[in-house]
């Protein structure tokens, strides 16, 4: 492959070449280049991530000791709702596809851009509009939304807080997500370079592709559900109002028909990133390529049919409950397939424990806890006991933050030199993985215990018996938040003062490592013809690294 890919090192990077007639700030704001759009997403999404982190830290601070300390019940309600809405709709759903998918999906399939560059820019602005509306809704009279991120009926119709505007923002963000999904599916089908058949695509492309399908299939359902809540608030049609013959449980069904598949929107792209990182740092082709690729599709498919497990206690027939329970256990299988294949890839590999790889190690530990406690929650009898407690909160954070969030940082550390052309301080990066791991477990593990003891979620106050656990948890939140700011600190430092990165600092073989760091405008001067398998490390010797 290497000899077909022309030398791009002499070309200017995409930072130096404008894609439109403007220079300066407009060359960014009106760009159609997928890499520049990815960087704009990166900055915006990181901003909202930090807002979400600060809200989380404030919640933990209130829970440091029992009683009304920092804030009352109403403020706490708004805080956990905003933390959820921001982290889910503004950070973790768009995070992976919009930043890393945008940047690396076209490069990994040997394309110059996505299929619809203009639509790509539009998706970004729709995201920004949605984010601004969500922020504006905080400051309007009526007060910030206090329903929890699930917007459950009937409270979301009856409360006087600014529900309509916030959920309308979620509706708009859904639009952005759909358009990105459509763009990626079409890109994958139409723009693969000669020689890249579906089974020669890197696994990150597979994962992003499967995610794009979920985005397209699931998001419209939340769109119509949100519209119905808004219509209900303004016109009182009665679709979810039992007094008029409607059914509030129907809302829960429609909400989770989207929101369960949405957790796979959050976790599938990270799983793709892992499938990139592990072969690179083991110098070994991925074990079970087809099994991993197919398990992404299996997760996308089965994940669509398990939503009822969020509603075991809200009034379903027993038949529905055991069917949903069974399907929930089934969806664990493809996830297990992935974990075992990753571990098998490491076997007899020549492992180079660089920071991205350490993040992945941390992931496997945290995600296994998250995944296994998911099975606890999927079992009907146990679910009734721990439903609506901290146990669910802990499980969710282990899967989403310990899983998707950890790999978000892994992806940053893996691709930072490629995206920005600079290398960060490896020693700091190694330390931060450890600190993150310690802080994370201190923060969330006590929640499993508290949940099992019966501490309900979403309470701003608690019985004194929980005090030691809550203290440990809050202490962990300080370590975790501190580590996150530390990471951002050394990355920003690297951006300006870091060493110039080589084109292939880790010894990866997928297409992005064949071009210079940062990539040139349009990625490839000549569209490459691919003959190797995606993780064939025999080509490493022929590859340039400067």
């Amino acid at each position: 492959m290497a000899n077909e890919i022309s030398d791009t090192t002499m070309e200017k990077s995409f930072y130096q070449v404008s894609t439109n007639k403007y220079n300066g700030i407009l060359s960014w704001l009106l760009t159609k280049d997928h890499k520049r759009i990815a960087i704009m997403y990166f900055i915006t999404i990181m901003f909202f991530f930090l807002v979400g982190v600060i809200l989380g830290v404030l919640m933990r601070l209130e829970l440091l000791s029992p009683g009304h300390k920092l804030m009352g019940a109403q403020a706490y309600n708004s805080l956990f709702t905003l933390h959820g809405v921001i982290m889910i709709f503004l950070f973790i759903i768009p995070g992976m596809p919009a930043i890393f998918g945008n940047f690396f999906l076209p490069i990994q399939i040997g394309a110059r851009d996505v299929a619809f560059p203009r639509l790509n820019l539009l998706s970004y602005y729709i995201y920004v509009v949605g984010a601004i509306l969500a922020l504006v809704s905080l400051f309007l009279p009526g007060g910030p939304i206090d329903t929890g991120w699930t917007f459950y009926i009937p409270y979301s119709v009856r409360t006087t807080s600014n529900v309509s505007l916030t959920i309308f923002a979620a509706f708009i963000l859904g639009f952005s997500s759909i358009l990105t999904g459509i763009n990626f599916i079409t890109t994958t089908h139409r723009l693969r370079a000669p020689g890249i058949t579906f089974f020669k695509m890197p696994l990150f492309v597979w994962a992003t592709y499967a995610t794009a399908w979920i985005q397209v299939i699931a998001t419209p359902v939340i769109g119509i559900t949100i519209l119905l809540v808004i219509i209900e608030r303004f016109f009182g049609v009665g679709i979810f109002d039992p007094a008029l013959g409607g059914d509030p449980i129907l809302y829960e069904h429609m909400f989770w028909i989207y929101s369960h598949p949405a957790v796979y929107i959050m976790i599938l792209p990270p799983m793709g990133v892992i499938s990139e990182i592990i072969p690179t740092f083991c110098r070994r082709t991925i074990f079970g390529y087809k099994a991993i690729a197919m398990s992404s599709l299996a997760i996308a498919f089965i994940g669509y049919l398990v939503w009822g497990h969020h509603m075991f206690t809200s009034g379903q027939s027993d038949t529905a409950r055991w069917i949903f329970s069974l399907l929930t256990f089934l969806v664990a299988l493809p996830s297990g397939v992935k974990i075992f294949n990753w571990v098998a890839t490491m076997y007899k590999g020549s492992i180079d424990p660089q920071p991205p790889f350490l993040w992945v190690m941390s992931f496997i530990f945290l995600f296994s806890i998250g995944g296994l406690t998911g099975l606890v929650l999927g079992a009907l009898g146990l679910n009734v006991h721990v439903h609506g407690t901290y146990f669910v909160v802990a499980h969710f954070h282990y899967v989403m933050f310990g899983g998707a969030g950890t790999i978000f940082f892994a992806a940053i550390h893996y691709w930072f030199p490629k995206m920005f052309g600079r290398m960060y301080n490896i020693k700091f990066a190694r330390i931060s993985v450890l600190l993150f791991f310690i802080g994370f477990n201190l923060l969330y593990f006590p929640k499993f215990i508290m949940g099992y003891m019966g501490m309900p979620r979403r309470y701003f106050d608690y019985l004194p018996i929980f005090t030691p656990y809550q203290r440990v948890s809050t202490f962990g939140s300080w370590i975790l938040a501190g580590t996150i700011f530390f990471i951002i600190g050394y990355l920003i430092h690297a951006l300006f003062k870091g060493e110039k990165a080589k084109s292939n600092p880790w010894g990866g073989v997928t297409l992005e490592w064949h071009i210079s760091s940062p990539p040139p405008m349009e990625n490839f001067y000549v569209i490459p013809t691919i003959t190797h398998d995606p993780y064939d490390f025999s080509q490493l010797k022929e590859m340039k690294n400067d």
Partner: protein, 213 residues
């Protein structure tokens, strides 16, 4: 056809606009239509649940809808699908004038549809039937839901008619300005697809609301 030539302008900037892929554009449009079907799918799901729960009251409530106007609107919308299809074929075969006439006919039919819809809704309002009205709230629950769904679903559909009209108006301008031509008419084709979808949804709405008497 993938035709991706890069043109580097004098200033050294790269122009990405030349990339053209008609099959890709159509694929993207079909995916988008798929999401529209799912959006309305959510509504049809709600309809199915309540129709199952209150079959008799849905039947009674449907008696109050005017089947004649509904039928007329069905004919109008089906005809508009025909005219938009003719408009596309005409442009592909090189007759811009016929294409423009047919596209205008589509827009006129769309306006006729909306005018009918307006009279239909206002008649309901005059009879005191609108969400939250005293008249409606005195009816049994099944009928409240029927009319609630009627207004939400036909309203959402009408919104799509309006969006479709905006899109088709743009196409009209593009054809006049010759940026949509016989050998570059993917935009018109995709707009036509959207219009057919609007039509298709109505074909399901019509029997579900007007023909269950």
């Amino acid at each position: 056809m993938i035709n991706h030539q890069e043109t580097i302008t004098n200033s050294g900037n790269v122009n990405l606009d030349v990339h053209r892929d008609d099959i890709g554009a159509k694929m993207g449009m079909w995916l988008f239509l798929f999401t529209e079907v799912l959006l309305f799918g959510g509504m049809f799901l709600v309809y199915a649940v309540y129709r199952y729960k209150y079959p008799d009251q849905f039947h009674l409530a449907a008696m109050e809808l005017n089947t004649n106007i509904g039928t007329l609107n069905t004919i109008i919308l089906l005809t508009s699908s025909l005219t938009v299809a003719i408009s596309i074929s005409a442009l592909q075969k090189g007759s811009r004038v016929i294409s423009l006439i047919m596209l205008s006919a589509t827009l006129i039919l769309a306006i006729m549809f909306l005018v009918n819809k307006y009279f239909e809704w206002t008649t309901k309002f005059e009879h005191g039937i609108f969400p939250g009205s005293k008249e409606l709230l005195n009816k049994p629950n099944g009928q409240i839901l029927f009319f609630g769904l009627y207004f939400v679903m036909t309203g959402l559909h009408a919104l799509h008619v309006i969006i479709g009209m905006v899109v088709l108006t743009f196409m009209l301008v593009f054809i006049v300005k010759k940026s949509v031509t016989s050998d570059n008419c993917i935009k018109l084709e995709n707009s036509g697809l959207y219009w057919h979808l609007v039509d298709l949804i109505w074909i399901f709405l019509f029997p579900l609301f007007y023909l269950i008497q």
